[in-house]
C-alpha cells in the first residue's frame, strides 16, 4: 500500500476543523507551507480559518511534540504525530510536562518521509524507524503493516567497533565543527529546560564560544540529560547545519539504557522516566 500524502493532508484538515469548531481544543499543531513545497514548517492552527494552511507531504520531518511545552499548562491541544513523534508525546506525559487528558493526538502511520536537505528517505539509520504511532486518539491513515526488520541500533556497529580513544577522537573531531547555533536544542522535543545549563553564568558550566572545551561541555552534558529520554526522532541531526551525527551518541546511550533497565523511552505512558525511577529489580551494573 502506497502512502497517499494528499489523503493524509485532507484527513488532517478535516479533523483539525472538527476539533477547533467543536471547541474541543484551542489549537492544532501540524505542518504548514514554508518558503517552498520542499520546506514545510511547523504550523499552529488556532481557529477554523487557519486550517487551510495545513499541509502534509514527504518533507514533513518536524517533531511537533517540541511545541507542546510552549503553551500554558492545561491548554487543550491537538497534535499531529508520526511514529517517533508520538513517543515524544508519551515521554512528555511520563515527565508530567503535559497531561494526557489535555491532548488529542492525531496519529499518522507513514513511511517514506524524506530529509529535505539530502532527499534521502529517513529510516532506522537516523531514527527509531517505526511506522505507526505508539499512542493516538485519532488515526489519520491506515496502520502500516509490519514493523522494520532491522534494529534501530544496527547503525551503531561501526561506532561500537572503535575503542575508547578512537571514540573520543571521533567525537572531538565532530563536535569541533559545532558552531553553537543550538538548532539541535531547538528541534529536540525533550530539550525544554529554560534556562539551558549552558546559558547560565553563575556558575558558568561551559564556555559559550564555539571552541573545543565548551563544545564538549555542551554536547556531552546534553547527551547525558537526554539519557533514557531521547525517543530517537533524529530531528537534532537533521536540524544541524554542519551535519554532526548527533543521533549516533543518542542511539548508543538509548541502547545501553534499554539493555540495563529493559525500557525504551516513550513507549508507554505507564512507564516512569527510567533514570529518576528506582525499582528493586534495577541492574546494579552501573555501580560496577
Amino acid at each position: 500500500m502506497a502512502v497517499s500524502f494528499q489523503q493524509i493532508e485532507e484527513k488532517l484538515k478535516t479533523e483539525a476543523r472538527r476539533l477547533l469548531e467543536s471547541g474541543q481544543v484551542s489549537l492544532v499543531l501540524a505542518w504548514g507551507r514554508g518558503f517552498d513545497e520542499k520546506h514545510p514548517m511547523p504550523y499552529v492552527a488556532k481557529g477554523a480559518s487557519d486550517v487551510d494552511g495545513i499541509v502534509f507531504n514527504e518533507f514533513c520531518t518536524h517533531n511537533l511534540a517540541r511545541y507542546l511545552v510552549r503553551y500554558p499548562r492545561g491548554t487543550k491541544m491537538a497534535v499531529a504525530v508520526k511514529a517517533a513523534d508520538s513517543r515524544a508525546v508519551v515521554q512528555l506525559i511520563q515527565e508530567d510536562k503535559v497531561k494526557r487528558h489535555d491532548l488529542v493526538i492525531l496519529g499518522i502511520p507513514v513511511y517514506g518521509i524524506k530529509n529535505p536537505k539530502t532527499g534521502e528517505i529517513i529510516d532506522g539509520k537516523t531514527t527509531c524507524g517505526l511506522y505507526n504511532p505508539v499512542l493516538y486518539d485519532i488515526l489519520i491513515a491506515e496502520e502500516v503493516h509490519g514493523q522494520p526488520v532491522s534494529s534501530p541500533y544496527a547503525v551503531l556497529a561501526e561506532y561500537e567497533a572503535m575503542d575508547q580513544d578512537a571514540r573520543f577522537a571521533f567525537w572531538k573531531k565532530e563536535l569541533d565543527r559545532c558552531i553553537r547555533c543550538y538548532a539541535c536544542r531547538k528541534a529536540c522535543p525533550m530539550c525544554y529546560c529554560d534556562p539551558c545549563f549552558i546559558d547560565q553564568n553563575k556558575p558558568k558550566w561551559g564556555e559559550k564560544s564555539p571552541e573545543t572545551p565548551g563544545n564538549l561541555m555542551y554536547h556531552l552534558t546534553r547527551f547525558h540529560h537526554l539519557a533514557g529520554r531521547c525517543i530517537d526522532c533524529g530531528e537534532c541531526s537533521r536540524a544541524c547545519p554542519v551535519d554532526i551525527p548527533l543521533y549516533l551518541f543518542h542511539k548508543k546511550v538509548a541502547k545501553e539504557c534499554e539493555e540495563m533497565f529493559g525500557q525504551a523511552a516513550g513507549m508507554s505512558i505507564e512507564d516512569k522516566p527510567v533514570l529518576v525511577n528506582f525499582r528493586m529489580e534495577d541492574s546494579d551494573k552501573i555501580l560496577e
Binding site: D96, K97, C193, D194, C196, L275
Partner: protein
C-alpha cells in the same frame, strides 16, 4: 577577602606516618587568604581545641579548616569550638586526610601530595561558605518497634516502662517470635515459655503499648523525631474487639492446614490460634485453608460464634502512626536446607532441622514432648550435624553463633528423653559465653560422642534400608567415618528474613554481604543505623543468642529514648532550596527524593521544598538539569571551586 586558619592534625602517627604534616602546614600557609597554618599532635584534645580558639581570636579568623579524621568523628567537636568563639559553625571545613589519605597508602610522597590537593580544594571552597542557621523541630515522643520476638518485646517493655507510648508491630497473629517455639534454653535449661510468656502477657497488659499484630509496615515517611509510618492491618476475618476467646470456632472448623508454629510437623485448623499461650489469644482465619473462602460454603465458625465476631467481609486496612524513633527487630529465618541435597533434608523423613527438633521436645508440640520420628519410632542413634550452610563458602560465610550451644542442648535433651546414642559432627565447638564452656563440659560427661569433622553426606543405609548413614571425615584420626543412625539433626545457617530487603528499603537501612542490617559503627554504634532515629536489635543485625539479643534490645530502647526524651531537636541547616527562575518543571527532584521533601506547585509551575522533610542529601540537586536546586553548604559554586582546587594538582 577571607581570613582562613588551617589546622593540621597528626592523629598521633595515624596521619603523620604517611603524610608529612609539617610540610602540609607550611604549604597551607602559602595559599591565598590563609593567615595562620599550624600542625599539632592531637587537634581534638583540649589543648588542640584551645589552640584553634586562641587563633580565631588572635588572627580574627572567619573560616577554619581542620585537616584530620572523618567528619563523622569530630565535626561536632570542632563546630562547638567555632560556636564558642563566636563564629558560625558552618564556617568550618573538615578535610579528611586520615580515612581518605593516610590509611589508604603506604607511600608518604603520595600521601602528602593528595593531602595538599584536598586542602587546596578546601581553601577554595572555604572562601565561599555562608553562615547557616540550624533548624529546631518538635520531636514526637512515641516509638515504634517492628517485630515482636524477644528483642521487640524487651525493647517495648523497657520503653513503655519509662512512660513512652510504644507501637509494637508484628506480622504474625501472635507475638513471641522464634523464642516461643523453643522448649528449653541453654545453658541453664530453663523453660523458654516460662520466661517468655510473662513478658508477652506484660506487653498485652501494658497501658503504654499498643499491640499491632497481623500488621506490616507499608510506607515510611519523614525522618528522625517525626516519622509518619503507614501500617497495613491484614484482614483477620475475626473482629478482635468482639471476640471473647472462647475458641468454639476452632473446635468446629473443618478446614485444615499445616501448622507454621510446629514447623509443619502438625496440622492446625483454618481458624486458629497458633499456640495456647498466644498473645493476643484470639483466632484468625487462614484464607488459603478456609472452606468458605475456597468453596463459598461452610461458615460454621460464624454459626457457633455467640459474639458475632466472625466477619468474612473484612479487608486489609491502612493507618498512619506518628513516632519519633523506630527500633527494627525483625529477626531471622533458618536457611532452607533442601538446597543442600547432600544432607537429604526433605527427601529422607529421618532428617530434621533444628527448629523442628525444638518442637519435638516441646510438651505443647506435635508429639507432646516425646522424641518420636515421622515414622512413629523412637530413634536409637542420632547424629547432630553442625554448621550446615554457615561457615561455608558455598552458602553463607558467617558463623551462626548459637548452633553449637543449642546442639549441645539437644544432645542433653535426647539423652534425657531417649536411650539413643548421640553423635556430634562439628568443625569446632564455640562455647564463648557465661556458663557456656561449663555446659559443654557437662554434656561431654553425659556420654555424648563428639566427632571432629563436618558431616559430608547423609544417605540411605545400604544394609538397613530404613536407617540413614552419615558420612564424614574424623579430622582427629584422619579416618573416613560411615555411621548408621535413625535421626539426623541439621543446624542450619541463620539468615536474614526473606523480606529483610524490603524492610531495609522502607527504613533506608544498608545491609551487609549476608543481608543482615548494617550498624552505624561495628564497635561504637552497634545499635544505630545510617538512618538517623532508626535502631536495630537482635538477630536482624547478626546471629546472636537470647542474652545478647535482650542486651541489645535494652540498648536500643535506651538509644531510642535519647531521641524521644527531648521535646525539641536541632537539625542540620544543610537543606536545599529552589531558584524558581531556573526551574524547568521537569519534576526530577520530586521523583528522586527519598524523604518526599520537594513538591510541584501546579499553579506556579515550579518545584518547592518542604524544608522540614529535607535531609540535605543533595540527590535533587544532582538530578536538576538547570541547576535550579541549590544545596546549602554544597552550592554549585562551592563544589566547583573545590574541584578546581583539586585539579590544580
Amino acid at each position: 577577602m577571607s581570613r582562613i586558619g588551617v589546622f593540621v592534625c597528626h592523629c598521633g602517627l595515624n596521619i603523620a606516618k604517611t603524610v608529612r604534616v609539617s610540610e602540609l602546614a607550611e604549604f597551607a600557609a602559602t595559599l591565598p587568604d590563609v593567615v595562620v597554618a599550624k600542625d599539632y599532635k592531637f587537634m581534638c584534645s583540649t589543648p588542640g581545641q584551645e589552640m584553634i580558639a586562641n587563633d580565631i581570636r588572635e588572627h580574627r579568623l572567619d573560616r577554619v579548616i581542620v585537616t584530620a579524621c572523618s567528619p563523622l568523628m569530630h565535626e561536632q567537636t570542632f563546630r562547638k569550638v567555632l560556636a564558642a568563639s563566636g563564629l558560625n559553625q558552618y564556617l568550618l571545613t573538615i578535610v579528611n586526610i586520615r580515612e581518605q589519605v593516610s590509611w589508604v597508602t603506604h607511600n608518604i610522597d603520595e600521601g602528602t601530595s593528595k593531602a595538599k590537593a584536598l586542602l587546596n580544594g578546601a581553601v577554595n571552597r572555604s572562601r565561599l561558605l555562608m553562615p547557616l542557621t540550624s533548624r529546631v523541630i518538635d520531636v514526637n515522643p512515641d516509638v515504634m518497634v517492628v517485630g515482636a520476638g524477644i528483642a521487640g518485646i524487651q525493647a517495648s517493655l523497657e520503653l513503655a516502662n519509662t512512660g513512652r507510648k510504644v507501637y509494637l508491630v508484628e506480622k504474625n497473629s501472635t507475638i513471641g517470635g522464634h523464642m516461643a517455639q523453643f522448649d528449653k534454653t541453654f545453658p541453664t535449661l530453663d523453660c523458654s515459655a516460662c520466661i517468655l510468656t510473662p513478658k508477652m502477657d506484660s506487653v498485652l497488659q501494658h497501658k503504654n503499648i499498643q499491640l499491632l499484630t497481623s500488621c506490616e509496615v507499608s510506607e515510611v515517611k519523614g525522618f528522625v523525631g517525626n516519622f509518619d509510618i503507614t501500617i497495613r492491618q491484614k484482614a483477620r476475618y475475626v473482629d478482635h474487639d468482639k471476640c471473647n476467646a472462647c475458641l468454639a470456632c476452632t473446635e468446629k472448623c473443618p478446614g485444615k492446614s499445616v501448622s507454621e508454629w510446629d514447623e509443619g510437623l502438625a496440622k492446625r485448623k483454618a481458624i486458629y490460634i497458633p499456640f495456647p499461650q498466644a498473645v493476643p489469644q484470639k483466632p484468625v482465619i487462614d484464607r488459603e485453608a478456609c472452606t468458605f473462602f475456597k468453596k463459598g460454603k461452610c461458615r460454621l465458625c460464624e454459626k457457633v460464634c455467640e459474639q458475632k465476631a466472625i466477619d468474612f467481609e473484612q479487608q486489609d486496612t491502612f493507618s498512619t502512626v506518628k513516632v519519633g524513633a523506630v527500633i527494627v527487630a525483625t529477626g531471622y529465618d533458618l536457611m532452607d536446607t533442601r538446597d543442600l541435597i547432600q544432607y537429604g533434608y526433605g527427601k529422607y523423613p529421618g532428617v530434621y532441622n533444628a527448629l523442628e527438633v525444638e518442637r519435638l521436645f516441646n510438651s505443647a508440640g506435635p508429639t507432646g514432648g516425646k522424641v518420636i520420628l515421622r515414622d512413629g519410632k523412637e530413634p536409637q542413634a542420632i547424629a547432630i550435624l553442625h554448621c550446615i550452610g554457615s561457615r561455608d563458602k558455598n552458602s553463607y560465610e558467617h558463623c551462626s553463633r548459637v548452633c553449637c550451644m543449642y546442639s549441645l542442648k539437644f544432645a542433653h535433651l535426647f539423652k534425657e528423653k531417649t536411650s539413643a546414642d548421640v553423635y556430634h559432627f562439628y568443625i569446632d565447638i564455640r562455647a564463648a559465653g557465661k556458663g557456656y564452656e561449663e555446659f559443654y563440659n557437662r554434656i561431654i560427661e553425659e556420654d555424648v560422642k563428639f566427632i571432629r569433622g563436618k558431616g559430608a553426606r547423609v544417605a540411605k543405609s545400604a544394609d538397613e534400608p530404613d536407617r540413614l548413614m552419615v558420612e564424614a571425615e574424623d579430622t582427629i584420626t584422619g579416618k573416613f567415618i560411615r555411621l548408621p543412625v535413625d535421626m539426623v539433626v541439621l543446624s542450619p545457617a541463620m539468615i536474614p528474613r526473606s523480606n529483610a530487603k524490603d524492610i531495609a528499603r522502607l527504613f533506608n537501612l544498608s545491609t551487609d554481604k549476608q543481608g543482615f542490617f548494617m550498624e552505624r559503627h561495628p564497635k561504637l554504634a552497634p545499635l544505630s543505623t545510617m538512618s538517623e532515629g532508626v535502631f536495630i536489635a537482635g538477630v536482624c543485625q547478626s546471629p546472636k543468642d537470647i542474652p545478647d539479643t535482650v542486651a541489645q534490645a535494652n540498648g536500643a530502647a535506651a538509644e531510642a529514648l535519647t531521641i524521644v526524651v527531648k521535646d525539641k531537636m536541632e537539625l542540620e541547616a544543610t537543606t536545599v532550596m529552589v531558584n524558581p527562575a531556573s526551574c524547568c518543571a521537569c519534576q526530577n527532584c520530586v521523583r528522586v527524593c527519598p524523604y518526599g521533601a520537594p513538591f510541584f506547585k501546579e499553579d506556579k509551575g515550579v518545584s518547592e521544598i518542604n524544608e522540614a522533610l529535607c535531609k540535605g542529601c543533595g540527590l535533587c540537586a544532582s538530578v536538576c538539569p538547570t541547576g535550579a536546586i541549590i544545596a546549602r553548604h554544597f552550592t554549585n559554586d562551592q563544589v566547583l571551586a573545590e574541584m578546581e582546587g583539586l585539579m590544580e594538582f
